[in-house]
Symmetry: C2
Subunit: 338 residues, 2 copies
């Protein structure tokens, strides 16, 4: 029996290199209407849509169902969204991003999906919207936005998602899970690799193994790509030490082994895998550093460090890198350059 459903209404906040691909793969399903909140690229996208060049899906101009500048604009006509998907960078030290979506979370059925890196990203949303389901999602995606509205994408599309703290939920977990599954199915139908995880925190910590090491060190070492980092024995040893600390912290905090999507579980394997890539990787944090943008150190380092210490895990290498990273950022965000 084919049910005739009205389209799922999705509001996607932060439609850059990452958000645009996931918005596109939903919108093309025809089963979802995606309204994209565009900030820096609004003019370009409103006028010409997203010019997407994707190895996986081909080249296409994607015109979202609706393009707006702000969340307030997205709800000005009284629209109620089934999903609010947050794809902004996680910068809780600078912005309470739970604040930004407030106008669109008027209905307790609205599901908040956070597609962001790091640990502890759900806290501000859970505190502010205790009755709304939160889907914590980890993305692996190889895309970039070389100019406003132009998106380059490779072949990776993975979304790994799970309900945040569903055991204490004020909602029917089964029905929410069904709606998330429905959304996931739309993505899957359009080529996105979607996983639904029981304990998403294990995936979050696993992704952190790379992000809290290569990403952060690339900046505090003075601006180095993966090749340059691994060419220094001391730096390689440091990256390994950071990974060991994250794994120990993650396993202690989550109470079990982490779930590694790449198939590499040991620091040396993760390092060797990076070492053998055909081209050096310029970590995203280094790109932020070079562009003098804020870095995601609160969710990549600060929150994991705090959780680790709360659970009695010593993380001296992480603490050192965190202190230095915030200082480095402070110099370019608030002070004159050297």
């Amino acid at each position: 029996m084919a049910a005739v459903n009205s389209p799922i209404k999705v509001l996607l906040v932060g439609t850059g290199a990452l958000g645009s691909i996931y918005a596109w793969r939903l919108d093309v399903s025809g089963k979802a209407h995606v309204t994209t909140v565009c900030r820096s690229n609004y003019e370009a996208v409103k006028k010409d849509g997203f010019r997407i060049n994707s190895l996986a899906f081909g080249d296409e101009v994607y015109r979202p169902h609706n393009v707006v500048r702000t969340v307030a604009e997205a709800v000005a006509d009284g629209e109620i969204y089934d999903f609010v998907i947050v794809c902004t960078k996680a910068l809780p030290n600078l912005v309470d991003s739970s604040d930004i979506i407030a106008p669109a979370v008027r209905d307790p059925r609205t599901i908040i999906m956070l597609i962001q890196n790091g640990i502890g990203i759900e806290g501000p949303y859970a505190a502010r919207y205790p009755n709304n389901p939160i889907v914590s999602t980890v993305a692996y995606l190889d895309s970039s936005q070389p100019s406003s509205g132009t998106i380059n994408h490779g072949v990776v599309t993975l979304l790994d998602m799970g309900l945040f703290s569903p055991t204490t939920a004020n909602y029917n977990v089964g029905s929410v899970a069904a709606r998330v599954e429905e959304l996931g199915e739309m993505w899957r139908d359009n080529g996105v690799h979607v996983l639904i995880s029981e304990d998403i925190q294990k995936s979050r910590w696993a992704k952190l193994v790379w992000n809290a090491s290569f990403n952060t060190v690339s900046v505090v070492s003075g601006g180095n790509d993966t090749r340059q980092m691994l060419d220094s024995a001391e730096c390689k040893a440091l990256i390994r030490s950071l990974m060991v600390e994250i794994i120990k912290a993650g396993e202690t905090v989550t109470g079990s082994k982490l779930v590694y999507l790449g198939g590499f579980e040991k620091p040396d394997d993760i390092i060797n895998n990076t070492d053998m890539l055909p081209k050096p990787v310029t970590p995203s944090m280094l790109m932020d550093f070079r562009a003098k943008r804020p870095m995601e150190h609160a969710v990549i380092l600060r929150n994991p460090i705090e959780l680790a210490k709360k659970h009695g895990v010593e993380v001296p290498h992480l603490e050192t890198v965190y202190a230095l990273l915030t200082m480095v950022e402070n110099r370019y965000l608030t002070q004159s350059k050297l």
Copy 2:
């Protein structure tokens, strides 16, 4: 009974902001003839001498007994030196400075005095000149060389010196000690505060408490003076952690409490003392970084870390900062800038 002695012959290698002051205070005694090996400032000093502005000793043009470009030139006329004093930066990872003085160490009575920072500086000299006494010396001096041959000096003059490994010496320790005391007395007569220490390593480690923390962090944090470092709670905590590790390592390696000349023994006291200085301090390593000069990380971090680990002391904060510092240096010494 007043003995009529011929002047002590001193060769001083590395006559910059530090070396020039100590050369001057010896040379003015009339009891020593100081030959200064000048590199970058040779032309200026040969022509006009050192133009010294000293709060402690007044303003004076100091013309050394002899000014040469190289150690070879200093011995070209067959001169035998009683003391060879090395005041160069300690960069054993780049230069074997024991090599540089070789032409002047032809006589087993020649005493080698090293006025340098860090740990393990004596090793290459002891290996190469097993029969020569080595006087390991720590200097506290507030001087700078704003332009070639112009030296500004404040009021601090301290030299803390001790024989390196005298228990295994191939020479008469008593007679060497007497000659060192004689040299020290000449300095004292001309206003230099000279201490002779039984175990100079305790002083070296104590000086490292500041150098391995504030100095190194000033660079890897992106270029910050003491005020900027202490204004960040995380950075202050990091500096404290580095100090704790150095003190533990130093106490374990030397087998006893360190000897702090400043009177401050605890990390918090050392930090507070720095915090209360009327002006922020720009650490010397940060000045090297800004001028794209090599940094003394091998003797300030690498050697202490190796010794610590050999003695079973964990030093994760120091290791992290060392890995990053060498990467940062590598970028400006060998690679293009960001």
